[in-house]
């Protein structure tokens, strides 16, 4: 285990990370043996429902919470014994964007620059640059109390970037945001990542993990239940569904053709669905077979399994629609 931790160049590594709250019979194991290895320059998505242990894991990796078991290294430093070094290397935007509403955006950034001990001569330039980067130049001198949710999150992100960290932790960066603000934040996260920042983000949104993450880990009840590239994970769940809309008169013929490629799946009326055993590669063969049978296709759609299917497969319950 220790060799695993010391031999790696990965910016985030955790081995058997555990956190128990309370003791005795009432002890709750919020994080129960999490192993993680995040590669340099990747966006790693930590996906799970509320209370799954995402935030607790992030709090341990960012030195805010002491692990009760296992160990972790961030940016090459041990989170338990080298917490100061870890703090200097990471940027963190926590879940509720804890921003003092009585201060202005620019004041908060200035304070953050002082707290990280940046050279005083650079403060004004750095603050201006970050405000512009997150699109808050015009609002920089307004009190944060007047900001919208999206603006707060963007300021929170700017605060996390003040000392140009190489590793960025984002705990549910878009929870509660409207779709526009969410997409703006996604763009910013992608841009940061393109510039070489390693990002670990937690989310309860499948789409967010799907859109942003190079790899995801799905966590439930404090344990990682599944991990990998989103497309791999989805592929592992099973065949994608091919939906075909044909002339009502040709439905029966079409079903006969489709059964040759996989089992038929329930769909809306007027449409046929088949689980393609060969995956997306099988689509062309289906199209040729339908054409050979003289069937006119009105609509064709291949639906890959979603991360929700992955989640359901791994945990036995669905993430989406769950409160």
């Amino acid at each position: 285990m220790t060799t695993l931790l010391s031999d790696t160049s990965a910016p985030i590594v955790a081995v058997g990370l555990e956190r128990t709250f309370g003791s005795g019979e009432r002890a709750i194991r919020a994080v129960d043996g999490v192993d993680l290895s995040v590669e340099p320059g990747e966006i790693f998505g930590f996906l799970g429902p509320n209370g799954a242990g995402k935030s607790t894991t992030v709090r341990m990796l960012t030195t805010l919470l002491r692990p009760t078991g296992g160990s972790a290294k961030v940016a090459g430093f041990d989170v338990a014994t080298q917490s100061d070094e870890v703090r200097r290397s990471i940027g963190v935007a926590l879940q509720d964007a804890a921003i003092d509403p009585l201060m202005t955006g620019a004041e908060l950034l200035h304070l953050q620059a002082v707290l990280y001990g940046l050279p005083k001569a650079d403060h004004t330039a750095r603050v201006g640059e970050l405000l512009e980067r997150v699109g808050l130049s015009a609002a920089g001198d307004r009190r944060v109390g007047t900001y919208s949710g999206g603006m707060r999150r963007r300021l929170d992100l700017a605060l996390a970037l003040i000392h140009e960290p190489s590793v960025l932790f984002l705990d549910e960066p878009t929870t509660g945001l409207d779709p526009m603000s969410r997409m703006a934040l996604w763009d910013e996260i992608r841009r940061l990542n393109n510039d070489g920042t390693t990002v670990l983000l937690t989310t309860q949104y499948l789409e967010e993990a799907d859109q942003l993450a190079d790899r995801v880990a799905i966590i439930d009840h404090g344990r990682i239940v599944s991990r990998g590239r989103p497309d791999e994970l989805k592929a592992a769940v099973g065949a994608p569904t091919l939906f075909v809309a044909v002339d009502p008169a040709q439905v029966n013929t079409a079903s006969e053709v489709l059964t040759r490629f996989g089992e038929l799946r329930p769909t809306a009326e007027g449409t046929l669905g088949v689980g393609l055993a060969e995956g997306a590669a099988g689509v062309s063969a289906v199209v040729r077979a339908l054409d050979d049978a003289g069937i006119g296709v009105h609509h064709l759609e291949l639906n890959a399994p979603s991360l929700d299917d992955v989640f359901a497969d791994a945990t036995g319950h669905r993430l989406e629609g769950a409160s």
Partner: protein, 259 residues
């Protein structure tokens, strides 16, 4: 202390002062209520100064100043402790813990804010009441001692209340101590001299540290400058501050370690 650390503590202190100034709803009561008490006292009990046993004073106003200073500073200091608890509630505390700045910064910043405010309150009460006939018998040096006393009282109360903020992490709990401070204030010699009190009230006031705190300020207002009066005005809050800082530092360490 390194320059960076000093800059960090200054920046956090500045933030605390700014946050007090930006909340008129907080500033106004702790500035206006004590003046209201003075006005009420002076107009209702003006002639009480001729009761046998009442200290020798020119006017009830001179007598009442000390009570209003301590009252104002006491209530003003709750503000800083409440703000500290709010920092914990909102997660701002975590944000500070995530930076490589010293852990003690958050406490120092809030207490510095309380001290600046306590100092300003003392000056404010004196300046506002001067045109109404207030006189400070101990002169400019006595006034300076009172301002230092106001600052130290703010530190003392702020430190004790901050310990509560750090223990509970709840701004409601801190504000819930407000009635307790009220009781401490009313069962002291803040509004009437101990000499004219009787029975149980007298015994409580005799035991209540707030009595001695107020009487320090009072002897500087109604009496000549004396070493004893200056020492009382400065040493009592300083002693409470030392104790309070000890408790709040321990609470801070405990909170940081518990996480």
């Amino acid at each position: 202390m390194s320059t960076a650390t000093a800059q960090q503590l200054v920046a956090l202190s500045k933030r605390s002062v700014q946050s007090i100034l930006r909340q008129p709803s907080v500033v106004v009561p702790s500035m206006v209520f004590p003046l209201f008490f003075v006005a009420l006292g002076t107009s209702s009990f003006g002639r009480a100064i001729s009761i046998p046993g009442f200290p020798v004073v020119d006017s009830f106003l001179d007598f009442a100043l000390a009570g209003s200073v301590v009252q104002g500073v006491l209530f003003g200091s709750i503000t800083s402790a409440t703000a500290l608890a709010t920092d914990i509630e909102t997660g701002f505390f975590d944000r500070l813990l995530l930076t490589p700045s010293p852990r003690v910064g958050i406490l120092v910043g809030r207490l510095a804010g309380a001290m600046v405010y306590g100092f300003a309150q003392t000056v404010f009460f004196v300046v506002v009441l001067l045109p109404f006939g207030l006189s400070i018998k101990s002169g400019v040096l006595g006034l300076i001692a009172m301002m230092v006393g106001g600052l130290l009282t703010a530190l003392a109360v702020g430190a004790v209340m901050s310990a509560m903020a750090l223990r509970t992490g709840s701004s409601e709990a801190v504000q819930g101590s407000f009635p307790l401070l009220f009781v401490l204030l009313f069962f002291s010699s803040a509004f009437f001299p101990r000499q004219t009190m009787d029975g149980i009230y007298r015994r409580i006031a005799d035991l209540n540290p707030v009595s001695y705190l107020v009487e320090g300020f009072r002897s500087l207002t109604i009496g000549d400058l004396s070493t004893v009066a200056v020492a009382q005005t400065i040493a009592i809050p300083a002693a409470i501050a030392v104790g309070g800082l000890g408790i709040s530092m321990r609470s801070l360490r405990r909170r940081v370690a518990a996480s």
